[in-house]
Amino acid sequence: MKPFFAIVRREFLSYFFSPLAYVVLTASLVMNGILFSGLLQALNSPETPRSMFWSLYFTNVFFWIFIMAQSMIIAMRLLAEERKSGSIEALLTAPVSEAVVVAGKFTGGWFFLLFLWLPTILYPVLLSRFGAVDVGPVASGYLGMALVGALFVSAGTFASAITKNQIVAAIVGFVFIICTFFVGVFQSFVNDPEMRDRLSYLNLLEHMDDFSRGIVDTRRLVYTLSMVVFFLFLSTRALEANKGK
């Protein structure tokens, strides 16, 4: 386990040495701030139920754009950078398996995504000064965000494993992320009720909708986690096949 944590730590900390990370960090804070105040203004009437705010915060279109872009940018360098520079050679000749390297790098990247969202914890704290905040939906909303983020970062990790070029990794990663998103959205275009039902399992929109209302459904957990494992498995295989090239 120690090599795994060493890789996670190095990966997480390395973000703070790249200017890109600070750009993403700043942009996320600014956008989240605008979103927060915009939502507050829009919902600032006594008739609006309080819970409405959080379900909107975690399901609006900006939320999806942010988390997709962030995941893409965080994941693009994970493996591509090391393969390009050649430092992967020293890493993989240490007594660690490719799976540990992939898992460690993914986890480091995912932690950085969570770090980007950490300042937004301030919002419920801020709101709690002006009225009671229901902790449940907020917590499950963040849980949903963490899971969706994990899924997107793992998809980006796979993209990063199949190319040495970070820009290509970003674009391909974005395609993968969009695909995982839209495969569930197709639900709305299908008439067959049975098919519609099945697709709803894959629908990340519904998924976040549940979480933002405080519903933690194990089927959602299983789906996201198994997708993460699937993408990490693909990344490991891709790394094994491509490492020397």
Binding site: S14, E82, A90, T93, A94, P95, V96
Partner: protein, 334 residues
């Protein structure tokens, strides 16, 4: 300690390494020699488990690296040629990271890092980010990272490439010191380096093993005709004809210059003619100033071997041999 058996690798049908077999015994420095593109790096990558071989096996301390990679890699320290380290990390942090990666117990990490940093003479830059260091320092930081877990086998891929002469001397000295604790496989195309550092040499060309043995052995084996240079005081015009008569002498050439006569003798293998030359000089009343055996340098051996191989299949590819002396010269200059 390191056992390489019938290692082969082909990339898309092109053979890069062809049935290479050798052993490195415990506590030995083996020089892995070959011109650029001979397959040195590919072989080393297969030995370290980074590339899967098309055929053949590699045993590190008896463990097959491709069957039990994690167990085998515990005994392995590898300094790749590319030497890409993480530029943002400090030297200390990097060595610590390597120690954690290689499963050094937490309690021992500070001591081991200290030991590795000191061993590689990088203690004066321990707190600097790797990206700000010169290449010579980075090379030694890479080495410190490679040996922090006290591997039994160290594999160094061209460790002195791109260093200035002073750094080269330092790195060579370092490698010689490491011999005490590690078995070392060192790849290089710099010939004097091999003679200075290595106990044994393996020469590879076009992916094939062309020779192996100690540097002296190779030199003796390969020197076609051992030679002798005799220098006699004064202009002695008949010197070459006289010495040609000594049994065992094949050729004799005379160069007279500056009040000296220099005679270059080629002799048959196994004949020691030094005494005969001396006696001849005494009877003729020559003043013998110098009598030097002329040995083929390892460079000669290398060039000859590589040229031979190239002659055999010259029709297939361009001759590489011309490239080799050039490199060797470059190495001599530095």
């Amino acid at each position: 300690m390191l056992d390489v058996q019938g290692l082969s690798k082909s990339f898309f049908g092109a053979v890069a390494v062809d049935n290479v077999t050798f052993r490195v015994e415990s506590g030995e420095i083996l020089g892995f020699l070959g011109p650029n593109g001979a397959g040195k790096t590919t072989t080393m990558r297969m030995i370290t488990g980074f590339l899967p071989p098309s055929a053949g096996r590699v045993f590190l301390d008896g463990v097959d690296i491709h069957e039990k990679p994690i167990a085998a890699k515990k005994h392995l320290g590898y300094l790749p040629e590319t030497l890409a380290l993480y530029p943002e990390m400090r030297v200390q942090e990097y060595v610590k990271f390597r120690a954690q990666l290689c499963g050094v117990p937490s309690r021992e990490i500070p001591d081991r890092c200290h030991e590795a940093i000191e061993k590689c003479f990088v203690d004066d830059v321990a707190k600097k980010p790797i990206g700000t260091l010169s290449k010579g320092y980075r090379q030694r930081v890479g080495l410190a990272g490679a040996l922090v877990h006290r591997p039994k086998v160290l594999i160094l891929d061209e460790p002195t490439v791109g260093l200035d002469p002073r750094q080269i001397v330092k790195v060579r000295e370092l490698i010689r010191n490491l011999k005490k604790d590690h078995t070392i496989l060192l790849s290089t195309h710099i010939l004097p380096e091999v003679e200075l550092v290595c106990d044994r040499v393996v020469i590879i060309d076009r992916g094939r093993l062309v020779a192996s043995g100690s540097p002296e052995n190779l030199r003796q084996q390969m020197s076609q005709a051992p030679g002798l240079t005799a220098v006699v005081k004064g202009e002695v015009t008949e010197a070459d004809t006289v010495l040609r008569e000594i049994p065992g002498v094949l050729r004799a050439a005379r160069i007279g210059a500056g009040g000296e006569t220099r005679i270059l003798l080629d002799c048959e293998k196994g004949h020691d003619i030094r005494e005969a030359v001396f006696r001849e000089a005494v009877t003729r009343n020559w003043t013998l100033l110098e009598l030097t055996p002329r040995q083929a340098s390892l460079e000669d051996v290398f060039v000859r071997l590589v040229t031979q191989v190239n002659d055999e299949d010259r029709q297939k590819t361009l001759p590489d041999a011309e490239e080799v002396p050039e490199e060797a010269d470059g190495a001599k200059e530095s």
